[in-house]
């Protein structure tokens, strides 16, 4: 009797505590998501009180008649592959370096993390200046050291614009991976490292057999978070190229935004968003299941 009463009251308390957050979350996160799914089956210009139900027409259009969607999808995939490969790798190397007893490693850690806390739109603006073909830092430096032949229109050349942008993105996100890896490295058992030294392991073998296995969970977290943040890359593209030149840096998140907010075709914009959502879910859901299984195992 008493027991069930206690359970009851603690359940009520829990509901009271998560209630407000749940309401806010449902209103501003869950409902818009559901709304987007509805919108993707409708035709709407954003103003018309009437929303016309058109079934799969929006999907059919973007998949068969919209060449920009395919460019955006390809760019998003390229971007995501690069974002999963480079920033985590560089971040891991930095973390390994800054985990050693180096002079000035604390300020160095702060410096590498600094870009993470800058607004992406500010990063975009800054790098846009540096990439400016006439007055930008890069071309100035190349001129000054006599490498005029290397001068490029970094953001204006369709062949390289995406990669120029990715360098800026890497600069911003390397610190994020680095901090997570640094935290992960603290969990490496010192006596295991010593045992490996006594067993005759060199630095690489010790890294492979002691450090990497200890970082397994951290690596999974970094890769999943990098995937998610790269799939929704928006601000940096919007700020640096706006998807240009000639849609060569177009990406799904930006294209969805442009369809809805600039072309005022909310149906097609929403359909792109739903596709992006599906892509994200197919990556995130397995991760969540895996991490919950891991939690269950440790109990």
């Amino acid at each position: 009797m008493l027991n069930s009463k206690v359970m009851q009251s603690s359940r009520t308390q829990a509901l009271l505590l998560i209630g407000p957050a749940l309401v806010v979350y449902a209103t501003f996160a869950i409902w818009p998501m559901i709304e987007v799914v509805f919108l993707s089956f409708q035709h709407w210009n954003g103003l018309d009180p009437q929303r016309e139900w058109v079934g799969l027409e929006n999907y059919q259009y973007i998949l068969t008649k919209d060449p920009v969607f395919w460019i955006a999808l390809r760019n998003t995939i390229t971007w995501t592959l690069l974002a999963v490969l480079f920033p985590p790798t560089i971040g891991l190397l930095l973390a390994l370096g800054l985990n050693e007893q180096l002079f000035g490693r604390v300020p160095m850690r702060a410096i590498y993390y600094l870009p993470v806390i800058i607004a992406p739109i500010a990063v975009a603006t800054m790098w846009k200046w540096m990439y400016d073909p006439f007055f930008g830092l890069f071309n100035q430096v190349l001129t000054n050291i006599g490498l005029q032949a290397w001068i490029k229109d970094w953001l204006g050349d369709r062949e390289i614009a995406l990669y120029s942008m990715f360098v800026a993105y890497t600069w911003q996100y390397v610190g994020f991976s680095m901090v997570l890896f640094l935290a992960g490295l603290q969990s490496v058992d010192r006596s295991l490292v010593e045992a490996a030294r006594i067993d005759g392991a060199n630095r690489w073998q010790s890294f492979k057999h002691v450090t990497l296995p200890a970082l397994r969970v951290t690596i999974a977290i970094v890769l999943v978070l990098s995937t998610i943040s790269s799939l929704k890359a928006f601000d940096i593209v919007y700020g640096m190229t706006g998807g240009g030149p000639a849609q060569s840096t177009q990406m799904l998140a930006l294209w969805a935004f442009m369809q809805s907010m600039q072309i005022f075709d909310f149906g097609r914009g929403s359909a792109i968003s739903v596709i992006l959502l599906l892509v994200t879910l197919t990556i995130v859901v397995p991760y969540l299941r895996w991490s919950q299984r891991d939690e269950g195992a440790s109990e």
């Binding site: 058992d189 006596s191 295991l192 010593e194 045992a195 490996a196 030294r197 006594i198 067993d199 005759g200 392991a201 073998q205 057999h209 002691v210 296995p213």
Partner: protein, 351 residues
Amino acid sequence: MAMVQVSGLRKSFGALEVVKGVSIDIRDGEFLILVGPSGCGKSTLLRMIAGLEDISGGRIEIAGRVVNALSPKERNIAMVFQNYALYPQMTVAQNMGFSLEISGMKKAEIEKKVADASEILGLNPLLQRKPSQLSGGQRQRVAMGRAIVRDPDVFLFDEPLSNLDAKLRVQMRAEIKALHQRLGSTIVYVTHDQVEAMTMADRIVVLRAGRVEQIGTPLELYDHPENMFVAGFLGSPSMNFLRGTIEGGSLLLSGGERLVLPSVPRNAGGELVVGIRPQGFAIGTQNGAKATVKVVEPTGADTHVLADIGGTEITCVVNDRVDFAAGQEIRLSISAAQVHFFDPVSEERID
């Protein structure tokens, strides 16, 4: 198997010197235990032999070779860590074979060596398990197996039994000793537990604050402690120390009580300290020095009586099941054939 010679060894961490000129000759096949309280430098000393700590001064030779500048793997030593330090993602067999694999040994040969070692340690049914699926004692055995397969010159043990429960500790103590007798290898073993040191060692090195206090066999140290520190550190419960002056074959305590001594030192001028093991007292009601019972602790086999004699608290161990009440007055006399005398200032032994 090999000799280890440590001479004038020093270690400083910044301005703090933790090992202050230690010299020990470890014989071939000897089981040597470094013992001392926390912070005495015993683990640091072991880690310097292992090559895990740099040497600030002095010299270490293993099998006649100066190893000061050699990396751990070049020293041909094996170490068993307090927390076992098993690679969590590897099976027992992989853990044991890891060093051999790294050294490029052939697979068949590794398997044979691992099989031999696991046979000795009774690990055969566990070879395919991961460390997380093993009990503390089993992990400890795997850690020893990892050391055995390498056939090292010297085995180093860093408080290997500290993480085990009391019962298992006694069992593993016997196993390690049996293992030593079987392999005949040189072992350097660090512990803070004097019982471990007494029961397992061929010789014990007692360390305090980075210096060697005494080196000797367990019984040498027990019977002839060089100073009050060694006398108090070995033996359980600890030795009792009573201050007083010698007067006609008796110890005259400051409170006026007298204890008849079995022997007196040759030159006993002035105040000195007499060390008496807890087992060296007889408790009676008629003859002897007056004392007051404070606590009685029956352990089953014997009884510990904490008593106050002339303001000094002492522990007596008696075999009888005595029934004293706290505050009761008793009479104490010395039954031991041997007591120890120390200088009250230098704390050194007086013969």
